[in-house]
Symmetry: D2
């Protein structure tokens, strides 16, 4: 039993949704202990939120947190800084902590421009720190199984990928009320150039990339804002041209009434296909060419080592969203304890690719746009 | 009890798939009697196929059939000519019979160019004959329910439509073998300019139009041929701009391993959404904004009159493909008996719209193309 | 092409549900022609119903029909008599026509006592006529596939069978209104000793037997009547002891709100299991021991000959209730044309077994009751 | 923020499945800290397992743990003892700790005889300690929603309950190998009189009781052992007579190939029904009489307060098995901090009822057996 890793959190205070998920996920396997935080956008809320959580080191803002950590002896400093603020703050916080030599886990989208993304990628490389981007859907065991099935050639060369992420919670004009989640997500100043695109489209992009290994070469995007007075897209439909000649379709919508959090990936290859849905995450359908479809389930003995390693429970005992998140944190913990960088979690480069995806989609305006490899 | 309508069939002989479906569908409600035919592309096969079916009037080709009918007294002539040949023959056969005053039911896509389509539309109008296009999916009771729910305003103004039609049967190179269905569908000379686009994409287009009432204004199409040596598209992904500002996505693929005949329509409106799948045709999911989704089933008492009229059985007794086909034929029979043109089945104009859709998609080559209203 | 078989129908007039289904099913493949009928319980309704259908030979009652047929020359007589009256009339009608040498198709439950059943079985044997009982669920292609998979030993020795048939349409007191279907089904004088047991429980019993080949040795039944004032069971739960040591559970309910016509069969063997649901009849789940479950679909190339022979359409084009019915009639037509008795449809013995099942279940009163082999 | 509760665990060492689940569940919300343990059946494995977990107080057996705790000052003692040993040890461990005044959480089935159960119930009552039985399925938000819907009268008086729990992992003779889970579960000396009955049938019994509030009055059980040489039942089918005249069916099987952990509850009332499956735990189907079925989802705004309180995430982000477990522990933590006994988790009386259920089922041998109220 190794000792627990000490964690500081930036963002994730009262009223925040995703900060609590990160804390649940870190708690699940007992590898982390949250000890410090600058949890909100005002000093008062930061301090109150820290007291809610019983943290030992509570700060009014992230700059104070950084200063405090740097003056502590190295063996008292936190091992990891978790950044769960609205998007527009990711860059300066991440840059400051990486520059000071801290390991970082940051939510997606990584930053709000590809210039920022490039700078961050270079800085992480220069400092040699670990940097995880919490594209949590890659933590599901059956996503890992899908990735292994593509890599191993079971479905043959990939021809087409259809990834869709449908939500309905912004079908009304939620942001005109007091809903904190919708307020910053629909505000370009805090969210960056993408609305649904940044909030959920980047998850779809990353899932496509993680499972297939294919990159985007060109895209043609149709972005729409259906909510009255809404400045950012709440609906995005994209045609994709992928490396190696494959074609793709990516749909992301937050006004799709009747869908809750319906992320689905279909990969069609020359010799088979794969179908996975986040709302039934413990199942993956594998359809071999000319054979009956097979229903693969989390935990079963026929899965790959990579998928089985991500399971905590036997088949039929459903694991979910928190567990997927926890898988990323647990892999990261192993890296941090061992000083390695080989864990199975998304990196700063994955985050950077997501930022370039958003920029290209926003620039498309219905035309085809090329992406850098 | 009215007497049965006399029918002649062109195409649909030995080895044909869809001709037999038309015959089953006509038989189902006992409103039609097949009496004449020119059933295949060669005189020998035509005659042999007619004898298989025990037809009274068997002809070597459609010209002989037409000549024979015209020399009979009016009260002995067939009431309806059903055209189920490969696509490239639809036009001349349909034109000849309409011109001679016969009612016609023709399979889709209507013809292989919009010039032909326009000519046929005008001719039908001039002659005043009934002309049904067998877009059979519109015959499903729950498709009719979906159409009623849109018309009645239950889901509010339509914002987005996602229609997908995935098949996997052409994932291999089936046409290089002896498969008759794949041979003509992958041959531009017999199929017309669209591959998957014409064979199934037009069904998707027509379903979208039938349910929402919206027309296509612009489209941006990415057509691909993944099968080795294949000349026509076997995969199509389209972005659509619809009348009234709605957006759309249309996917049609015949290399999507793991899908059999997976036509699905989702309509997202301001106050709710609809979701229907052809492989579970007896169900329609209606998700009202801010309420629990409702599972509507064929035959239930809460449905509209239009949907209930298309049901033969109580809820839970699944009806399927043949019944949907039969609904079109039964509505047509009512028109033919009554001399009216008000039945609930697709018309020549619907067929013409499908042809223009194919042409525009083929012309797109990844760019946005406008369509005539 | 052989000529059509001439059919007379007893019962199935105006307001009847199942008579129309039989007519649709006979029409589907074009092998039958309905020419005569005594369609209702009163002379007036019988004559009116016959005229609705445009029948050539309409009679006031079945006795008149029988007399009329017998005085015609043999080559003008009907080839088949279809009995679709309420249950209590099956026996005398069937006995009279079989005794006169006619082939018969009769709805289930066959008769209302095992004494009647035994008499009818012996009479059919003595006369050598064909006698089909329309347990229509056995006509589904995937039920036939299930039967083949059991027979071929793919799932090993059968250990347990769970068959359930849940409907909700009698959850209220429907029979107190004008609903004709519920009126006779809840009346012991017309329905016989079983309510839900006879109406749907016998379907479940027959499905179990057809697929597994196992017989009932003992049963313990709990019958309930939840509808106010209802005399017959509307809910039945049975424990079964089957031949060969297998165990079984049979549930039949007509007050199960939320279920429409939910017949489901699960067969658990030593090396695998099977799962089929009538509301999604085109699919059969086969779970081999220690492997991923396989989703078998109607029409696919991996099916047995018996299953493929019952399909009219390729995979993904759903067939349903009428088609299953039609399969029985088509197999029967082949027997009648050929003078054979080898077709794939339920026989009078199957009907007799169902009657004994009802009697044993009614006699059980919560105790174990043995059945004759 | 209150301080964490100190926990000691008995059982749950290396190779154990459920001990790790309890630890994950306690970790999830950060309310517990595991500090002491006697984790296995031999001193060596106990000590090694404790070191694996980095526990401060590791003991060779539970007696040493008890002695050690009692000699510590009260403010250093553990707040809770979690018992996750094989069934046969529950009684003496639980009795000793309760007698010494400790709060206890114990896995199910509570003990192996109703005499033990009664003694334990009385002792808990006498000592006034908290005692939770980890029937974890009651922790699912949608199970709580189901309970609220029954209590509030939405589905009317309950008429019938069908609860089934199907697993397939003991279809082969797993216990003849080295599988530790199957070894003790199939051994009467360690498992008690019930096999599948005790391991999963009690979960089904408790789920039925929790949701409907109904008790068992009589049961008729058919227990079978299909595994070669197996001494305990691996398959159980029961007819139930419930308080208030309702009827029930309870199925529990561990040789049902193709099912993983398929616990399903259906409750049929006079005005509606409920349907919940553990493998899709975030959904509950509510079918009102004469209306379209409603699909209720975890986290949605239409749920009851009791259900919403058990959710950590918004709709569409699936929660699972661990979260359900955690809900029990979190409710218990609230009781322990506040000194109350009002939390929403199963009690020792629930465990005792489960033991009486097993005894009655084993005694039934196919006959009806009455249970004490």
């Amino acid at each position: 039993m190794t000792s627990k890793l000490r964690v500081a959190m930036v963002g994730g205070g009262r009223d925040a949704f995703i900060g609590a998920v990160h804390r649940h996920a870190m708690a699940l396997d007992g590898r982390y202990e949250l000890v410090a935080g600058a949890l909100s956008s005002t000093p008062e809320k930061s301090l109150a939120s820290g007291r809610d959580l019983g943290l030992a080191r509570v700060h009014a803002d992230w700059q104070a947190l950084l200063t405090d950590e740097l003056r502590r002896p190295a063996d008292e400093r936190v091992d990891l800084v978790v950044i769960v603020t609205p998007n527009h703050l990711h860059f300066e916080v991440a840059r400051a902590f990486v520059d000071a030599g801290f390991h970082v886990a940051c939510d997606k989208p990584l930053v709000t421009s590809s210039a920022q993304a490039d700078e961050l990628v270079q800085l992480v490389s220069a400092r040699g720190t670990a940097f995880a981007v919490t594209y949590n859907y890659t933590g599901y065991p059956m996503v890992r199984e899908a990735r292994e099935l593509v890599r191993s050639g079971v479905i043959g060369k990939v021809r087409k990928v259809v990834v869709e992420y449908h939500q309905g919670w912004l079908a009304g004009a939620l942001e005109s009320g007091s809903n904190k989640q919708s307020a910053w997500r629909t505000d370009p100043a805090r969210s960056g150039p993408g609305g649904a695109l940044g909030d959920i489209g980047t998850h779809a992009e990353n899932l496509l990339h993680t499972v297939t290994g294919l990159g985007l070469e060109e895209l043609c995007a149709e972005l729409s804002s259906f909510g009255p007075g809404r400045q950012l897209d709440d609906d995005a439909s994209l045609l994709l041209r992928l490396t190696g000649g494959a074609r793709g379709v990516l749909l992301a919508s937050q006004m799709a009434v009747g869908h809750e959090n319906d992320l689905r990936l279909r990969v069609f290859g020359e010799r088979g296909s794969l179908d996975w849905r986040q709302e039934e995450p413990n199942t993956l359908i594998h359809s071999p060419l000319d054979e009956a479809p097979r229903r693969l389930t989390r935990g079963s003995a026929v899965l790959s080592e990579a998928a089985r390693r991500a399971c905590r429970l036997p088949p039929g005992h459903p694991e979910g969203f928190i567990e997927a998140f926890a898988n990323l944190y647990t892999e990261l913990a192993a890296d941090l304890h061992a000083g390695t960088r080989s864990g199975d979690y998304p990196r700063v480069e994955d985050g950077a690719r997501g930022v370039r995806f958003i920029e290209a989609a926003v620039a498309s305006q219905g035309r085809w746009v090329s992406l850098q490899p």
